[in-house]
């Protein structure tokens, strides 16, 4: 077993039995479910809206090469600079080069999964550059030295008491502050950071080809501040975030808001289409957009898995997933957790190291049901499993077992050969351990339906 798989098993076992964790997650996802139910009311025909969204992403991804060049052309016209990064290292090197050129010592960053994917904060820290998270949830996680627990709500696993304790320990505040007071503390700490930072870094929720812009969605105004004060704005974004036209936002903004948090529309939606223009009074002097591949073209090449690139990172499949709710975001050991993470990570970071995630699903299908862009998530898990078998990532023992299963299932005679009692003995000996200590084993009937039918019906 790969070490990632055994670490996944170990962590998931611990979390699945952690009743405190279960309570916090069920409570927070319960609140989310109520909000989303209300949020969906804004759509007169939700099914059609989702179908349309899927079609738009389909078009965007099937013509991705053209759209990316169109984006580059349009952004460049307005003075923005586009950098193409094939992998995480290239993206990091480019960011470091900009930092060096600007003699940057301090960066403010708004929440971005792409920067998590390349582990930007620790990389910059190694080069003595401070990179501060400005989204409150991410700020909490950064203080705690933890990666985000969830792609939309990074500190979902922490109760308000947990956060108060963390602030007391790390920032010396009184240990019993209310959420409101805690927010004010964070706000005060962050204000100075915005003023000091030479560079602001954001991700992007959407790349918009026809206007050469990137769209950023947020609730706290921190992305706006991160891009308004510093003289340089860097955007790190995965190439799959493409939308062909600014008009598509009319659908995607409310869809993302509803499925992400249950809002009708997120509080702040900004479109950045270049640095400060002549005659404008504010905005950064320079704007860089780093278009990152980092494994995404592996998915693009796989025509079955391609639709996983339609994902708009709303997090609804995580919230809908009983596995995620039992083991939490950190057990996955990946940037993208939950069902969509289990689909894309084996492609992004290697089948051998991450294929176990594609098996870690009961295939209940709820992820597919809730996906706003109607990605067939659970079927893509099956696709990955099939691919793993085809590409020889499964063990010899497993192959033998399925060969044996096939032989037995092809012959009714073989299935009837052994009595129920013998099967029960066999099961106790070889199966009891895997079935575990928390369940009694099922019991084979002494005669199968097949045998009984022949006896009773003659």
């Amino acid at each position: 077993m790969h070490q990632n798989a055994s670490s996944f098993l170990e962590k998931s076992e611990k979390k699945a039995g952690d009743l405190g964790h279960r309570q916090t997650i069920n409570f927070n996802i319960g609140k989310y479910n109520t909000a989303v139910k209300a949020g969906k009311q804004q759509f007169a025909d939700l099914t059609t809206a989702r179908e349309r969204a899927k079609n738009i992403k389909w078009r965007a991804l099937d013509n991705l090469d053209k759209h990316l060049e169109e984006f580059e052309q349009n952004l460049t016209k307005r003075g923005g600079k586009v950098i193409w990064a094939e992998n995480a290292q290239q993206a990091l090197d480019e960011i470091l080069a900009i930092c060096k050129a600007k003699q940057c010592k301090s960066i403010v960053k708004s929440k971005s999964m792409a920067t998590e994917e390349v582990h930007l904060n620790s990389f910059l820290a190694k080069h003595d550059i401070e990179c501060v998270e400005t989204d409150l949830g991410e700020y909490i996680q950064q203080l705690d030295g933890e990666p985000p627990y969830h792609i939309v709500t990074p500190a979902m696993h922490k109760s308000k008491e947990d956060v108060a304790r963390l602030f007391a320990e790390k920032l010396g505040t009184p240990p019993d502050l209310t959420p409101q007071q805690l927010t004010l503390v964070a706000r005060e700490k962050l204000r100075q950071k915005y003023l000091d930072a030479e560079i602001g870094i954001t991700g992007a929720n959407f790349i918009i080809a026809d206007i050469g812009g990137v769209a950023v969605t947020e609730n706290e105004g921190n992305a706006r501040l991160s891009t308004a004060f510093p003289k340089t704005h860097i955007v790190l974004v995965g190439i799959e975030k493409m939308l062909p036209s600014i008009n598509d936002l009319a659908l995607f903004w409310p869809l993302l808001a509803t499925y992400g948090t249950g809002q009708n529309v997120t509080v702040y939606n900004s479109i950045f289409s270049g640095p400060r223009q002549e005659g404008e009074t504010d905005g950064p002097e320079e704007m860089y957009v780093i278009l990152m591949d980092n494994g995404r073209t592996n998915i693009l090449m796989d025509t079955e898995a391609r639709e996983s690139l339609y994902c708009i990172r709303c997090g609804s499949c995580l919230n809908a997933c009983p596995v995620y709710k039992n083991i939490g975001g950190h057990s996955y050991g990946t940037t993208y957790s939950g069902p969509i993470g289990s689909v894309i990570t084996p492609h992004l970071r290697g089948m051998e190291s991450y294929i176990h995630l594609s098996y870690a699903s009961s295939l209940c299908g709820n992820c597919t049901e809730v996906c706003p862009v109607r990605i067939n998530i659970h079927e893509l898990l099956l696709h990955n499993r099939h691919k793993a078998v085809e590409e020889n990532y499964t063990s010899g023992g497993e192959k033998m077992s399925w060969f044996g299963w096939k032989q037995a299932s092809l012959s009714r005679r073989m299935m009837n050969l052994v009595s129920g009692n013998v099967k029960n003995l066999f099961m106790k000996k070889f199966f009891a351990k895997a079935w575990g200590d928390d369940r009694e084993l099922p019991v084979f009937a002494s005669k199968s339906f097949n045998q009984l039918w022949k006896e009773r019906r003659k």
Binding site: L9, S12, E13, A16, G17, R22, P322, V323, N326, I327, Y359, A360, S361, S362, L363, C364, G365, N366, T368, E369, L382, R385, H386, K387, A388, V389, E390, T394, E398, K399, W402, F403, W405, K406, A408, S409, L410, R412, M415, F431, A434, W435, G436, D437, D438, R439, E440, L441, P442, F444, A445, K447, S448, F449, N450, L452, W453, K454, R456, R457
Partner: protein, 239 residues
């Protein structure tokens, strides 16, 4: 009306009496029930594990065993859903295309057959107590079964139906998932059973014995006061 039984492999081996209860109900409704004794499995276990060639061999046998113009009825939403929704993937561009199409048209999950084909909800069954219904994923999401089993159960004399919290959330069985990721499977099962117990139910009822087998194992181990029952066993009770 002629009906062919499809008795899924684990029902055949572990729960034969549920099969016979299904026969009892179908015969009461005037069906002539037939059973092809050559049948084995639909192929889902291997398919879900990624072994599509092995699955295809077994599915091929299934297609041959069920080459019929009769209705085919199975006590499982999971197996029915698999044949309906995934045989297309296995037999894409193959000579079996038309047979598969016919099979998908004729195959019904048991409660679906009662409510949608025979248009029957009252079987004259009696069972005293409180019941809660677990929406098995295969039935709910692969077959779209939601109200049928509830209306069937609502007609059972003496039975009071109470919805539990999260009735649509997976129980955690998931085939090989239950053993490959046993602690997660148990965590999910535990939450399902807790919800069922909290509803005040004496019976935890479903269309799928695979879910119930896993939940029953948990219930027996922890000596809880609730009993799992397949809906065919409920509908065959008291007459």
């Amino acid at each position: 009306m002629n009906v062919q039984l499809f008795i899924p492999c684990f029902v055949d081996q572990l729960f034969p009496e549920t099969g016979f209860n299904m026969v009892k109900v179908l015969e009461k409704l005037g069906c002539t029930v037939n059973y092809n004794p050559n049948q084995t499995c639909c192929g889902q276990p291997a398919f879900n594990a990624g072994y599509w060639d092995e699955a295809r061999s077994v599915a091929n046998k299934f297609v041959k065993d069920f080459h019929t113009v009769d209705y085919i009825v199975a006590p499982s939403g999971s197996c029915t859903g698999f044949v309906r929704n995934y045989y297309g993937k296995l037999f894409d561009n193959s000579a079996a295309h038309n047979d598969v199409k016919m099979l998908r048209k004729h195959l019904y999950e048991f409660t679906e057959f009662l409510t949608d084909v025979l248009h029957v909800t009252d079987l004259g069954a009696t069972l005293n107590g409180v019941a809660t219904y677990h929406d098995a994923c295969g039935a709910l999401r692969e077959c779209g079964i939601k109200d049928g089993p509830r209306s069937l159960l609502s007609k059972v004399k003496g039975l009071e139906l109470k919805e539990m919290n999260d009735c649509e959330v997976c129980c955690g069985f998931g085939g090989t998932f239950a053993v490959k990721f046993e602690p997660i499977s148990i965590g999910m099962g535990e939450q399902k059973v807790n919800n069922a117990v909290a509803s005040g139910a004496d019976y935890l009822i479903s269309t799928d014995l695979s879910c119930l087998m896993h939940l029953d194992g948990y219930i027996r181990k922890h000596e809880l006061n609730i009993k799992t029952m397949h809906i065919a066993d409920v509908l065959a009770s008291g007459w």
